[in-house]
Symmetry: C3
Subunit: 348 residues, 3 copies
């Protein structure tokens, strides 16, 4: 465990120091649980209130002006700076030993890279390849001819089915399933017949996949996840979906078969995307939205069926006043009725 | 297996007997499949129809008046009474033997309590502790320095990651994941950088967690689940969420990072709760609702965005009549047009 | 691997050939990745554009007229024909060997059928039965007295809890949980008491269940899934639900306790069905719908709360114009105000 002065840290992180640079930092913690000697961070001005209460010896924050009795280390991206100080002060709690655990079942026709760690009760089938320095924790299954790249981390009970491929530095959380059959059936004479799913899943590098998320293999060809895309827990990605690079898919999202998300798309939690559509680069889909049509690049949508966010907000605001509108219509009808009545009498 | 007369059961359950107390009860079953000798229950008056058809020898029900040819045992809480008779008449089908299965991999630096049962292919890492009489079924994983309390029951393939803690008498169903990384990334120069998630998950006692539910570890500090809270299947609980005591979280709910549910909150199936908000004590969130703002204690909300239930119901009712409202507006416009026309002619 | 002429294939599939029947087919692939010698298919006229680009030697398609330089094999059901050619040209990549793997833990009181394959680290408890030619891949758990029929395929890490039963030819994808406790609690004196879930799950034959889907056991009696029903990933099926034959349940659907789906019901992704209702034969529930009332046979619904699809579409169209309707109401009020004013002046 290393220690740094605040001035040294400011230098390493490229930040501006407000306060005493000689303070010694020995650890890192959240703003509420930090102790003297710790550095902490606030990523969001809504947490500025904690500045007065924290026991931390310094606080990483954004460049805006803030009143603080604690020394501040101002940076452009507090989250990023926090990530760096965590790596500095918190070494890995647990780094599994390289090698194959005695209870793992590894086919002699599988290839395990140098420095890889294959945990207890893992199963690696014939023709599968695991890259160098990759860690498979307990109970992972790697199917026939599947490929896991280098420096990946697969948490316990991950399943990667046959022929699927992961790039390098991917993180798969517990219970992830890569390459289950896509959901395809042909109805004939009152029964559903299974369409064989003979494609694969191709995952790029630096992809993270959350716990119990499922990514189905393609009918033919491949379901694809681009480099740097991050997927949260319990997400469903259907067969032949293509997701670009650096997308963010929040928990419990469902993406139906053959849809295509371009790069930098962000999909909010529990949103659903219908099959066979295209979501343009950088589009943002709100939580619980139901997207049933293709979206142009940069679109921001919400609601079911999804519409531009501003329109949805406006309609939602009007909806609150819908009961009053019915009242107004009723009153208008009475007033018009009266005018018409008077008219008749006048004419009469 | 014990037998009781109905009079003895009425005594044990604190209920009122309507009918012959000398009837002998030997078992318990649902109202449709019960056989003579069985006691059954109806928790809901909508099932009163089955009273005429059941072959059960007695029926547990609520205190209201009911016509029945079968003896009735009236209690304040039929569900609770049913729970007690099941415990009486149905001994556990299967009670695993205490001890560590020969195929389990338990670190010598782990501590296993007296009477605990560690099933086949479990993995318990260094520094982990499992409490007395706790049962871990096949394939469970308990990470470094994690703690499982006493008398817990972990079904097959549960993952509890490093440093997370469960209280006593918790039930975790198959595939539960406790302590996967929270979903946090800092965008810098077009790439997402992982924010290390160095907090933990702290779960109280008497908590039940449904199959394949995921509870993420905190960025720093802890994601917390209070005593007595019950969580259904496929629920997602984000990092740094705090859930109070005796909450009910129905299947497929998603709770985003840093939100706080006070005690006795009930969240209906598939509802979503945005991050960084507070749900007051006893609030009820309807199924599929999308809660985007903090709620006061006792609130009852529905819809996306969530609003008070009565308002939502009223708006939904008006919505059904929206096409007619457009018709009415059109007719009104015609009538006003006619009045204006006549006015002009009169004036002209 | 077999080869066929296109004429032979047309004969086997009962299709009509348009083009050269002597072409030799050696493989099968998707339309974009097919190479010369491959047959491919288009199931949907939206993909007709690929007809001009494909390198395939023949294309299976529906009976409509199409311009194509590639030989066409026209059939009534292209998906079904594709399924047949895949079975012809793609032998199984991996057929596990019959027998019990040395690392599996099988109770001496379990019965394993002839030709069954029990993979590494499987656990089969006392009294359980596995049918002939069934394959259990790595890490599956079959509980006490549970029954898996013949010719089933259970992918890795599937859990089937005690006493639950599967018919023949079922496919369970990785992480499926059959028979976890239903979610039932009785509130008494401020605490929730668990209602024992002593029923089972009864699954018919030819049922497919997607990755990480959960099907809860009944409180008493059985949760039932009928023959030929297909369930996608991450679906939640509550206790005592009854699903008929040949239903389609798309990903992330939730079906609450005691609801009954008749045969041939189709439920779109992320839809929710409240408890204790009945969905009539052949009803179709749209994606993300929230069904809170029973539906008659053949109903087609969408939205939350769910309503007939045509009504929902009409209301959604009007909703887009709601801001304008408020405008129209305001203008009408001004016009009526003016008429009333003039009236007064006239009378005055």
């Amino acid at each position: 465990m290393s220690t740094r002065t605040l001035a040294e840290l400011a230098d390493e992180l490229g930040g501006t120091l407000v306060g005493d640079g000689s303070v010694v930092i020995r650890g890192v913690a959240g703003i509420r649980e930090a102790q003297p000697g710790d550095i902490t961070f606030i990523a969001n001005s809504r947490y500025d209130g904690y500045l007065q209460e924290t026991q931390a010896s310094a606080v990483i924050c954004s460049q805006e002006d803030r009143a603080s009795s604690v020394p501040l280390l101002k940076v452009d991206n507090p989250y990023l700076a926090f990530q760096k100080v965590v790596r500095l002060f918190r070494p890995e709690l647990y780094k599994p030993m390289p090698g194959v655990h005695s209870t793992a079942v590894v086919s002699p026709a599988a290839r395990i890279g140098e420095g890889a760690s294959i945990g207890p009760h893992c199963v690696i089938e014939s023709g599968a390849r695991v890259g160098s320095n990759t860690v498979l924790m307990a109970g992972c299954y790697i199917g026939v001819q599947a490929v896991v790249g280098a420096e990946c981390l697969l948490y316990p009970n991950v399943t990667v089915r046959e022929e699927c491929q992961l790039g390098d530095r991917c993180i798969l959380h517990p219970g992830v399933v890569v390459g289950a059959d896509g959901f395809g059936f042909a109805l004939d004479a009152g029964r559903y017949h299974k369409i064989p799913q003979v494609g694969i899943v191709l995952i790029g590098s630096d992809v993270e996949i959350g716990a119990n998320t499922t990514i189905d293999r393609a009918t033919t060809d491949a379901t694809r996840i681009g480099n740097g895309t991050k997927i949260d827990n319990l997400v469903q990605i259907g067969h032949n979906v293509v997701i670009g690079e650096h997308c963010i898919i929040v928990a419990q999202v469902g993406i139906s078969g053959s849809s295509h998300l371009e790069d930098y798309v962000v999909v909010g939690g529990q949103a659903g995307i219908i099959g066979h559509i295209r979501i343009g680069k950088g589009a943002q889909v709100g939580g619980q939205a139901g997207v049933s049509k293709s979206l142009p690049p940069g679109a921001t949508v919400w609601g079911t069926p999804a519409n531009p966010l501003n329109l949805v907000k406006r309609i939602n605001a009007y909806l609150q006043r819908l009961p009053q509108l019915f009242e107004r219509a009723k009153r208008l009808e009475a007033r018009v009725e009266k005018l018409e009545q008077e008219k008749k009498e006048t004419v009469g």
